[in-house]
Symmetry: C2
């Protein structure tokens, strides 16, 4: 029997590459996708589903989360706040920050992993995230592993794996190209327009990474980019 | 301005006493209640609301959580599983165990606390819980505090307080009686009958605690108890 991995799969570039990496390492994929009221919720769901299908995932579980919107304080989940473009706002805490989001997502992933007797959880945090997001830092991942070890039943032995945590997005794309990740199925833009905006920080880092890797991003961007 | 505390408020005996204790310590109460598909969801909500009102809570936030039911594996959220009575089943892991529940609830509480600039989170875990529930142990609380410290923004200084962690339910009731907790407004039974069953482990420990404190539980139990 194969090992089982719960993969946090947003439908973006990093998490899609990560799920391919997990499969390449011999894991059956239990894809976990979150709908938390972000503007791009529907599109991300479609992308995550398409990636999970392309991977023959053993399970695709989508979780609706009402509480980030109810709690507020992030431009990703509060329509009255403007999403900052790259370079705007406070670089030490962008307004796209959702307070303590990754602990929320990893807690659900751990519940899912424990219920399915999974061996691992894969999360795609990476270096350029943790300038602004405290819950993406390697120390955070280490501390969360301890909470998992203590807070699950004795039989559960779940490893929290973040193989991209010291990689940048250029390295991630190079890895993904080797693994055959269909990047045309992924979506990274924070805004919900027909084509990616090319200006939010998520687009900025994605475009920069494709350029650094000497590749063309296969998704469409707004005219002029 | 008063200090602010996020209080996890299920509407049961422990969490209601805890919210009264927090108010007694000078905190404004930000009550946080979860509806996660447990059989007694509606009744618990009514109790939690009544307690929050009796406390003049600054905010009462109820959070619907779909994922525990979707993930399954607990008799509290899966109607096809029978809720064990006290003394039945595996005492080291009762079938009422919801995998990693407290990490999920504390993650949401931390997001809420960070968004409201709160000073503390109160959680009512106590000694008789942690025979069976790994996510109620003092080591778990300590490990989670570290995750909170690392995973929130630099400005956030949120203390995770579990003043009952080494108390038993008898001590908690004695504390609550001094604080004037209206126990007639609380509900502990795992089953969703008109009156509390008196036989599930939650009823068992509640009744035992009232008896040990030399008091009569003001809620109704099924005939013969």
């Amino acid at each position: 029997m194969n090992k089982k991995a719960v993969c946090l799969l947003s439908g973006g570039m990093d998490s899609s590459t990560l799920a391919y990496l997990a499969r390449n390492q011999g894991y059956d994929i239990y894809a976990l996708h979150f709908m938390y009221g972000q503007m791009t919720e529907k599109r991300e769901l479609a992308c995550a589903k398409a990636i999970a299908e392309s991977l023959n995932a053993a399970e695709f579980l989508k979780i609706p989360l009402a509480h980030f919107s109810l709690i507020g304080k992030s431009s990703l989940t509060d329509a009255s706040m403007e999403i900052e473009d790259y370079g705007e706002g406070d670089p030490s805490l962008p307004n796209t920050y959702v307070p303590f989001r990754n602990a929320n997502l990893l807690s659900i992933a751990t519940s899912f992993a424990e219920a399915r007797d999974a061996d691992a959880i894969f999360i795609g945090v990476q270096a350029s995230d943790y300038a602004g997001y405290p819950d993406c830092r390697p120390e955070f991942i280490d501390a969360f592993q301890k909470v998992m070890d203590i807070g699950t039943s004795q039989e559960a032995k779940i490893r929290l794996l973040s193989p991209f945590v010291k990689m940048n997005k250029t390295d991630i794309i190079k890895t993904g190209i080797k693994l055959g990740v269909p990047y045309e199925l992924t979506w990274s833009c924070y805004k919900n327009n027909e084509e990616a905006c090319g200006r939010c920080s998520s687009c900025h880092f994605r475009l920069e990474a494709f350029a650094n890797a000497g590749l063309k991003d296969p998704i469409e961007y707004e005219a002029g980019l």
